[in-house]
C-alpha cells in the first residue's frame, strides 16, 4: 500500500476551522429560523381557524336558506 500523504498543517488547520465555523453557523442560523417558523405556524393555524369558521357559517347559511 502506498504510504499516506503527509498533509500540510495549513490545510489541516483551515479544514478543521472551516468545520468549526460551519457548525457554529448552522447552529446560529437554526436558532434564528426556529422562532420565525413557529410564529408562521401559529399565524397559519389562526388563519386556518378563521377560514374554517367562515366556511362553517357560509355552509350553514347555504343549508339554512332552502328551508327558510
Amino acid at each position: 500500500m502506498i504510504p499516506p500523504v503527509q498533509v500540510s498543517p495549513l490545510i489541516k488547520f483551515t479544514r478543521y476551522s472551516a468545520l468549526l465555523v460551519g457548525m457554529i453557523y448552522g447552529k446560529k442560523r437554526y436558532d434564528y429560523l426556529k422562532p420565525i417558523a413557529e410564529e408562521e405556524r401559529r399565524v397559519e393555524a389562526e388563519e386556518k381557524k378563521k377560514r374554517e369558521e367562515l366556511e362553517r357559517i357560509a355552509k350553514e347559511l347555504a343549508e339554512g336558506s332552502p328551508s327558510v
Binding site: 500500500m1 495549513l10 478543521y16 472551516a18 465555523v21 457554529i24 447552529k27 442560523r29 437554526y30 429560523l33
Partner: protein
C-alpha cells in the same frame, strides 16, 4: 394470505445473519485501509503544528504581495483551486452538523 411477507421474514431470519457476517467480512479490511489513511490524512492538526500552519499562511500572503501569483502554472492553480474547494466543503459539512439535518433546516 400474506405468504410473500411470511417468506420474506423467513428468508431474512435464515439468511440475515449470513448476509450480516458476509457484509462485516467484506467491510473489515476496507475499513482498516480507510482508517490507516484517515489516521494520518484526516487527522486534526496537533497543537505543535499550528505555528507551522500560521507560517505557511504568512508565506502565502507574502507570495500574493510579491507577485508570485503571475508565476503560477495552470496545473498548480487548478490544484490549489481543488484544495480550496475541498476546504470549503468542510464548512458545509459543519453546517449540516450544526443544523442537525442533511437537507434544509428542520424548524
Amino acid at each position: 394470505g400474506c405468504s410473500m411477507a411470511q417468506k420474506l421474514v423467513q428468508a431474512l431470519s435464515t439468511r440475515g445473519p449470513q448476509l450480516l457476517s458476509a457484509a462485516v467480512a467484506y467491510s473489515k479490511p476496507r475499513l482498516a485501509t480507510f482508517w490507516y489513511y484517515a489516521k494520518v490524512e484526516l487527522a486534526p492538526p496537533t497543537p505543535a503544528e499550528i505555528p507551522r500552519a500560521i507560517d505557511s499562511m504568512k508565506a502565502v500572503i507574502r507570495g500574493f504581495q510579491t507577485g508570485r501569483l503571475a508565476q503560477l502554472t495552470v496545473r498548480e492553480a487548478v490544484r490549489n483551486g481543488l484544495v480550496a474547494t475541498e476546504v470549503l466543503m468542510w464548512f458545509y459539512i459543519g453546517e449540516i452538523i450544526g443544523k442537525r439535518g442533511i437537507i434544509g433546516y428542520n424548524v
